[in-house]
């Protein structure tokens, strides 16, 4: 047991922390009002220095213990500063690259992965379909072999980074088996839908995608796979990312509420002096600690491939997501009218907090899965 950062974990944290100075914070705030073209520029700007820290290439492919715990230790930093940037980077480095990281991938795929680790490209993953938000097993996007190519047709929804991606990993079926098609931006037959306006994380570019007999060379296709393991693995990674994003959100809103409660006065003293305010802060901090440690432990279990890893990741995701909603709610109450004004950290956090509970594995599906795992033991 060790609750401290190891040297490897601390050193990555330090390097990643150096990427985000005060000017970075201000610039990242601007993401929330930016157009996709500007977003691409901002995300690319941070991918490069992050690549220099080794952050982007971690935990892609097979779980690697040192890499995974170092990653979780470092992920908290961008997650605390900007949820939009964090999610955009993680979709590129962990979800897009994760889908591509299979043993014996073709040369072209390995080159794309190399470009990800160097921070040269933005990636997106197109898994979800309009009618099938949770079961990747019965999707309608399908592909047919056509000489050296596949022809891919289908419609994908909620593609994070869709409008700004250089490459998109599209999951579709070849006959009945899933395969991953790496589609380059601007390909014929690839139609990027209009950016979807969402409640929160307005600095994320999200869209639908339509593929009409889009030709993808076999050298950029992985699979077809005989099982859905590759997708299940990605879903777990996505849930972990959302747990970390929630912890970052809790830290961000707690920081803001704490600062406000010290500077704002009522009854001749800072509002932080009143129990009605300070007890809320105590609750926020307690939830943050609990969510953070649970997420660390879940990430460690994932890296160790412990038997309960999947359940722990789901526990972390549900808990952190719901705790972040509670925390954002309390922060808003502390800032009162100031918090309700559009665009401040707490108002933004309040809108963002809903995301983690419904993205990835929804809280409902996650709870059923946690319970099913327990119930198999007592049958």
């Amino acid at each position: 047991m060790n609750f401290d950062w190891t040297d490897q974990e601390r050193s990555l944290r330090t390097r990643v922390a150096e990427v985000f100075d005060e000017s970075a914070r201000q610039e990242l705030d601007l993401m929330e009002d930016a157009q996709p073209s500007e977003l691409k520029e901002i995300v690319s700007k941070y991918l490069k220095p992050l690549a220099g820290t080794g952050y982007l290439e971690l935990a892609v492919g097979l779980p690697d213990r040192g890499g995974m715990t170092a990653l979780i230790a470092a992920q908290e930093l961008p997650a605390r500063i900007s949820g939009s940037l964090f999610l955009s980077v993680e979709v590129t480095a962990r979800i897009f690259a994760g889908l591509l990281s299979v043993p014996d991938a073709p040369e072209q795929i390995r080159e794309i992965l190399e470009a990800v680790s160097k921070g040269e490209i933005v990636g997106a993953a197109a898994v979800t379909e309009p009618a099938l938000p949770d079961s990747a097993a019965v999707m309608t996007t399908a592909a047919w072999p056509d000489g050296d190519h596949y022809l891919v047709s289908g419609r994908k929804d909620f593609v994070t980074n869709g409008p700004i991606a250089d490459y998109t990993a599209v999951v579709g079926l070849v006959e009945e088996n899933p395969a991953v098609f790496v589609v380059e931006a601007g390909s014929d037959g690839l139609l990027v839908g209009p950016r979807i306006r969402t409640l929160g994380y307005n600095g994320l570019a999200v869209s639908s995608l339509e593929l009409n007999e889009c030709r993808v060379p076999r050298s950029r296709v992985l699979g077809p796979f005989t099982d859905g393991a590759v997708l299940d693995g990605i879903r777990l990674v996505q849930d972990l990312i959302l747990a970390v994003a929630s912890v970052g959100l809790m830290q961000r809103t707690t920081d803001a509420a704490k600062a406000y409660s010290r500077s704002h006065e009522r009854g001749g003293k800072p509002v932080a002096a009143h129990q009605e305010i300070r007890f809320k802060l105590a609750e926020m901090l307690t939830l943050t600690h609990a969510a953070q440690l649970l997420t660390h432990r879940a990430g460690w279990m994932y890296a160790e491939a412990e038997r309960e890893a999947e359940t722990l990741v789901r526990c972390a995701k549900v808990f952190a997501a719901e705790a972040s909603e509670r925390t954002a709610n309390l922060a808003m109450q502390i800032l009162a009218g100031q918090g309700y004004v559009w665009g401040n950290v707490v108002e933004r956090g309040y809108r963002e907090a809903k995301y983690a509970a419904l993205a990835g594995t929804t809280s409902e599906i996650a709870r059923m899965s946690i319970a099913d795992d327990l119930l198999t033991r007592y049958r």
Binding site: T69, A290, L294, C315, R377
Partner: protein, 380 residues
């Protein structure tokens, strides 16, 4: 970061589980119902070596580390040992015996620790008073030096094991003008003239653990019964907080595992509308919430234990966070567990209502949730 437990730790936890299920759990219902301390179970705990496991071997312990101590306490709860017995154990071992071990002279250690580690003697600790709880500086029990004796006057309230204890660590003011620095600790043995148990309290939960009011009326003890240095009592009391937030919280974690087992088993047995209720989402939801709370609470408690094993001073913020989280966030899942069993959950023989009652102590004992919030908001 690394959350792995060692093979030895896991094996020991497994042994405690087996032992407790066989030797102790069958006796729990009867004793809880009668609010009676279970001497036979106590004896077994002593024989098994749990009551003094972290003490060195020469004093009757087995030199266990704090994480192992936490796992053992967790295992007791997980097996289904009631919160009364685990509380008696916690107060005895960590609040009484450990204070004598950590601050006592060699003679005091030799005299008390082996007896306490074996369970031949039972220990208690007296800090809280009718008018002084978390506000320790306001305690009013007085100790006045007269020649080679200390004379104690005052009363202590909510003293776990008070009525059954053979030896008590009692905190009293030796210098009323000095605030925290005017508090000292004393060892008082049962039967000392002037030391009486005035009444035992009838409680909602942890019923097998007697909770008593102690009265000191010109109670004279030898000077050598001062524990540690005069005026150091507050610091000594604060040191027990490390144990209080680790080994004493651990049975609450174990109790959640126990509830998960009870609920999981019941959900398959109980059929309604032609199928086991395990197939209903509302039942699964409750089960999942028990698990989520358990896993969120665990590392908070392990962290306190691990830091103590590293020899670090207690991080009071982290300790208060662990206490507040377990106290307040255990209320809903323990309630859910009772609801999951419906009418049976409300009945004694299904054990779930006992855990519900026992766990209501978590946000109260050892500093209420409000007091934890005072601490956290001050320290953050």
């Amino acid at each position: 970061m690394d959350f792995a437990l060692t093979e030895e730790q896991l094996m020991f936890k497994e042994q405690v589980l087996k032992f407790a299920r066989k030797e102790i759990v069958p006796r729990v219902r009867e004793h809880d119902l009668e609010a009676r301390f279970d001497r036979q179970s106590w004896k077994r705990l002593g024989e098994f070596g749990i009551l003094g496991m972290h003490f060195p071997e020469e004093l009757g312990g087995s030199g266990a580390d704090v994480v192992t101590s936490v796992l053992a306490a967790e295992a007791l709860g997980e097996a289904g040992v009631d919160g009364g017995l685990t509380l008696s154990f916690g107060a005895h071992t960590y609040l009484c015996a450990d204070t004598i071990f950590s601050h006592g002279s060699d003679a005091q250690r030799q005299k008390y620790i082996p007896k306490l580690a074996r369970g031949d003697w039972i220990g208690c600790m007296g800090l809280t008073e009718p008018g002084a709880g978390s506000d320790v500086a306001s305690l009013r029990t007085r100790a006045v030096r007269q020649g080679d004796r200390w004379i104690l006057n005052g009363s202590k309230m909510f003293i776990t094991n008070g009525a059954i204890a053979d030896v008590a660590v009692i905190y009293a003011k030796t210098d009323p003008s000095a605030g925290h620095a005017g508090i000292s600790a004393f060892i008082v043995e049962k039967g000392t003239p002037g030391f009486t148990v005035s009444r035992s309290l009838n409680k909602m939960g942890v019923r097998t653990s007697p909770t008593s009011e102690l009265v000191f009326d010109d109670c004279a003890i030898p000077v050598e019964n001062l524990l540690g240095q005069e005026g150091n009592g507050f610091l000594m009391a604060m040191q027990t907080v490390e144990w209080d937030r680790s080994a004493l919280l651990a049975p609450f974690l174990g109790a959640i595992s126990f509830l998960i087992e009870r609920c999981g088993t019941y959900a398959w047995e109980r059929e309604q509308f032609g199928r086991p209720i395990a197939s209903f989402q509302a039942v699964k939801h409750k089960l999942a919430d028990l698990k989520i709370f358990l896993e969120a609470a665990r590392p908070l408690v392990y962290r306190i234990a691990w830091c103590k094993d590293q020899g670090r001073p207690l991080n009071h913020l982290e300790a208060a966070v662990a206490k507040l989280f377990i106290g307040d966030w255990s209320l809903a899942p323990t309630n859910d567990a009772m609801l999951l069993l419906g009418g049976y959950g409300y009945c004694h023989e299904y054990d779930v209502e006992r855990v519900f009652r026992d766990s209501r102590l978590a946000p109260i004992g050892g500093g209420t949730s409000d007091v934890q919030k005072v601490l956290i908001s001050r320290l953050m």
